[in-house]
Point group: C2
Chain length 478, copies 2
């Protein structure tokens, strides 16, 4: 057995009593030929290794460079340095892997996020990104734990699909046909019957419809999987490949749906605050430092930790779309013609409108319900007013839409009529309609964009920095 | 709030004291106009609803058909029937959704698995499939819990990739180019610079290489995501789209790797036995019934529960590939020429060989190590004998290979040489080689095929029956 190490996170919370320990990790810095800051990825904090004079020969000392991998045997003793309870007094150091400090791209200094994006394969080794990815892990685990505790079934909906029912945007085609020489039918069309699945297929944009099938049998289900949009959006909030969580619940109406979504988001934030306090403190400080360079007006009113605590302590504001439009029309921003896009009943809320509602007016997350039916999907439940549907979007400060959901139309006739009105291919979706034919029930669900949630919790500002390897237009590296 | 129901699973473990309850679910059967078996997907067990004479009018009674959805208000009282502790004496029944019993595809009788595969959107409503998918959920949760407890970071590796480094098989192409009219370069090739990512891209076959990048920074990571093979394999063990778990650990050698994999599999089995006892008992019984139709020789020696307990109680056998070949050559099966494929050192073990080792010879899971280097991937660590690599495959009874893993080659020169020998494009993989250039460490990992694990634990025999919507050649429905 090689791996008889103790992780640094564990050592740093152990009472140091001179016990023998083995640690392994990578050198962050080496000062005065005496103090090694060692990191193994388990914690934002480094472990200080003290190398006494004469322990190592000159040649070995020279190999202790930034990025080098070490195996250290020694004793865990109280530290005299500030900010750390324990350090290791080394009795033996083995160099597992050298790192040529001339060539190592990560120097012990601050690198820009843009530069680190170029070397995404190494950025896991920085404090910022190790914190981000540990928090991403915690959020993912908290999601599973939240739903598991409530008796939800985790459902893997298909990634490759032959339906484009959602109409949620541009899709990626999936094929095994030889592109250089595509087979054709007699009348000159591409012969998809020769494709792997015998038909044209795409990458999924949502697992919701399949989720409804399972929910109307198992009760409560959720998906958590990758989702795709082939949109040419080069923004700080869009990815071509991202992860989404889509719970779907039988016997839920839109109120139940809102209650669940709010409890869910608060649970996730609380979990990370409980389990990643040191990572959050680091990122909180990082954000403060970043914002020092900005003019006062562009700085956040709240620090990261303050913002998260605020979301825990305050209920989300719940307003209807109609109320949202009224608030916007009555706003100083509208009167001073500060909105670029038109404001009137029937519009799709633009980012500037959402930000005004959340950041200026209500100053907290807002749930907007009952949108005009014409700007929402066919499956949303029609309200009695004939104009709106039981949709709900959650808008978060600094992020905008983080959750989109609705009560689903469970009435077969109304659903069929709406599908026809919106040119959804009814015939290809008989399987979906079967849930309304046989024991149809009120049900609801929502989707949470995982990376947007990670952005919100880490305080990072570009979505490419919260996913290990971003896929965006013209960018598919690693 | 609509959803003020109590789930049937909770009610069935509650002491019945006449308390008022609300339950919602779907009718499985309705006997004598008096006893409704109601199921809400939370449990394999139905709740008995007792309808007293005169509670409902004739028209309503007729609407209580198999598949109909009900909201039942009543009192939870001790049951006189056998096999159930509690039942609900209804005070009000509301029909949430009708089900025309003439048209409902699921009748209260046994359907074949083949038929249910055709109506995969409804099979969640059967006892067998609800049990399978609850167990699938539990396995997924147990996977996250196992790694979270050990301080692993859950990593989402990319689904769309531009590299084919693994060479693990046929890949699905991903593109947004207009297939009807593909853009061409001046010399007539397809102009992938106009594609979404500016190059040719595919669906991932493994997240391992990206996993290594994160492991050599964060220490221990695991992936759990969809993986794709465009292989034209129509078998009971292959899917074109399946889920895989790939842990990758820094500072691990192959022994550490085997220890982790064995502990992992045992943890998963124990978790399901602890949390899904009723579902397992149902499937155990189902398997016994199925096998009654088979000749004695084809029946399993152990029942499902027996088999799972056996795996918990016994260590996995650990043998080298060379020992495996010796066992096969000395076997009665070999001497009687019962193997279809040749047996000699250097072959890739065939399914018949694996089954002999596991089911006939060792009668338990077997870990085979140190395979010939020429039948394994370039990244596996080369042993000192110059002939073998530090690979490890775990073979399970009835399933065959369930885990494939190895210690990785951490020595830059040896890795580069092997890549050249195997025609792996070294230049495109400089990012991968960087992990060996800067602080390289011994590390290892493995992949577990999730659906094969679900097969093993549920005792189902076709992999299409343990994933919600199977993707196989010429099949991409729902």
């Amino acid at each position: 057995m090689f791996n008889n190490r103790t992780k640094i996170k564990a050592l740093l919370s152990t009472e140091p009593t001179g016990q023998e320990v083995i640690v392994m990790g990578w050198v962050r810095t080496f000062r005065n030929n005496q103090f090694i800051a060692l990191n193994d990825g388990s914690s934002i904090n480094n472990l200080q290794i003290v190398v006494e004079l004469g322990l190592l020969d000159e040649a070995t000392l020279k190999r202790i460079t930034t990025g080098a991998a070490l195996k250290v045997t020694g004793t865990l003793v109280p530290s005299l340095g500030k900010g750390q309870k324990a350090e290791v007094k080394a009795s033996a150091i083995e160099i597992l892997g050298d790192s040529d400090s001339e060539k190592y791209p990560l120097q012990p200094k601050k690198h820009s996020l843009e530069f680190l994006r170029e070397i995404a394969h190494l950025r896991f080794r920085t404090s910022t990104f190790s914190a981000v990815f540990r928090i991403r892990h915690s959020l993912a685990f908290a999601i599973h734990q939240f739903f598991n505790e409530k008796g939800f079934v985790y459902l893997h909906t298909p990634i490759i699909t032959s339906s484009d029912a959602e109409g949620a945007g541009e899709m990626f085609q999936v094929s095994t046909l030889p592109l250089e020489n595509l087979p054709r039918t007699e009348n000159g069309n591409i012969d998809f019957s020769q494709d792997f699945f015998g038909k044209s297929t795409n990458l999924t944009v949502s697992g919701q419809l399949e989720g409804e099938l399972a929910a109307t049998a198992l009760g409560d289900i959720y998906t958590f999987g990758p989702t795709f949009r082939a949109e040419n959006s080069n923004t700080t909030r869009h990815l071509a490949e991202f992860w989404m969580i889509e719970p779907e619940m039988a016997f839920y109406d839109i109120q139940d749906n809102m209650d669940l979504a709010e409890a869910f988001i608060q649970y996730l934030i609380r979990y990370v605050m409980d389990h990643n306090a040191e990572d959050l403190a680091f990122l909180d400080n990082r954000l403060k430092e970043e914002e020092k360079a900005l003019p006062q007006a562009q700085r956040s009113e709240q620090g990261l930790l303050e913002k998260l605590q605020f979301v825990l302590d305050n209920r989300f504001e719940r307003i209807t779309y109609t109320e949202a439009i009224e608030v916007l029309l009555a706003s100083p921003a509208y009167k001073k013609k500060k909105f670029k896009y038109e404001v009137k009943w029937g519009i799709d809320l633009q980012s500037e409108h959402e930000r005004y509602l959340v950041e200026k007016h209500y100053k907290r997350p807002v749930i907007v319900t009952n949108y005009p039916k014409d700007i929402k999907a066919f499956y949303m439940r029609q309200n009695d007013d004939g104009k709106t549907v039981a949709a709900m979007d959650i808008l978060a400060p600094g992020i905008g839409e983080i959750v989109g959901g609705s009560q689903r139309e469970e009435r077969l006739d109304k659903l069929q009529t709406r599908m026809q009105e919106m040119n959804v291919p009814v015939k290809e979706m008989e399987w979906y309609l079967d849930t309304r034919r046989f024991g149809s029930v009120p049900h609801a669900g929502f989707g949470l964009g995982f990376e947007r949630m990670v952005l919100f919790v880490t305080g990072m500002s570009n979505i490419r920095d919260v996913i290990p390897f971003a896929r965006t237009p013209k960018n598919c590296e690693f």
